[in-house]
Subunit: 110 residues, 2 copies
DNA sequence: CTGTTCGTTAATCATTACATTAAATAATGC
DNA sequence: GCATTATTTAATGTAATGATTAACGAACAG
């Protein structure tokens, strides 16, 4: 009950810990529906590497892939970021209000 | 200029991607100044493992250690979480307002 | 001083993550 | 069909992560 086996936040934070993956998200946010090739273009890594990064992002629910003809369009799925925001706001009280408020909030929240 | 070598967000997100480390943060948020032994107690891992996790958290700036006698008191340092919040708010506009606003924000922000 | 407690470091091992090149699959056009 | 383009999968190597036990060092109590 302390750990529900695996927390979705694990994968989300892990996905966001790589600057190349954050760059991919930023590109998709700026322009939705880019192909894998267009995403790989400006990055100094190979296309298979981009596919792996997209796998990680898709596994975290941050990106979805839509096959269209012989190319794959990528879309940003910001829903998991909301979970991050929720987790974060618990700690936000720590630096705005005092410790006591937060202590109550985090009694059983990993 | 695209990448300033290493982004602090890398270490912060990586530190937060482990549920045990988030559990340590939650414990410290609920009760500041816990010792390493007290932190290791309820977790199903050895004390050296906790030391390593604290190294990671301290490296990300999320925790500071204060040696007091023969024990080490740990403190939560929420400042890096503010960087996460700032990064996140850029994407928050994505699901509240439209794509256009965000596109403008993320032109050169990795 | 000696023994005990608290914490870190050392040595080791298994697992996972990230990258590359080369081959395979899939869709399009001639 | 055959060549071309787009993307993924396979095979492989290396580096990072996470854990453990054992040894070490510092602080306190008797």
């Amino acid at each position: 009950m302390i750990n529900e086996q695996t927390n979705p936040l694990d994968g989300i934070f892990a996905a966001l810990s790589d600057p190349k993956r954050r760059a991919l998200l930023a590109r998709l946010a700026a322009q939705d529906g880019l192909t894998v090739g267009e995403l790989a273009g400006p990055l100094p890594i190979s296309m298979p590497a981009v596919t792996r990064h997209l796998d990680v992002l898709e596994g975290a629910g941050l990106v979805s892939r839509e096959k269209q003809g012989r190319r794959v369009l990528c879309h940003l799925r910001p829903a998991p970021l909301r979970a991050v925001r929720d987790w974060l706001t618990d700690y936000e009280t720590f630096w705005t209000e005092g410790l006591d408020r937060l202590a109550a909030l985090l009694e059983a929240k990993p």
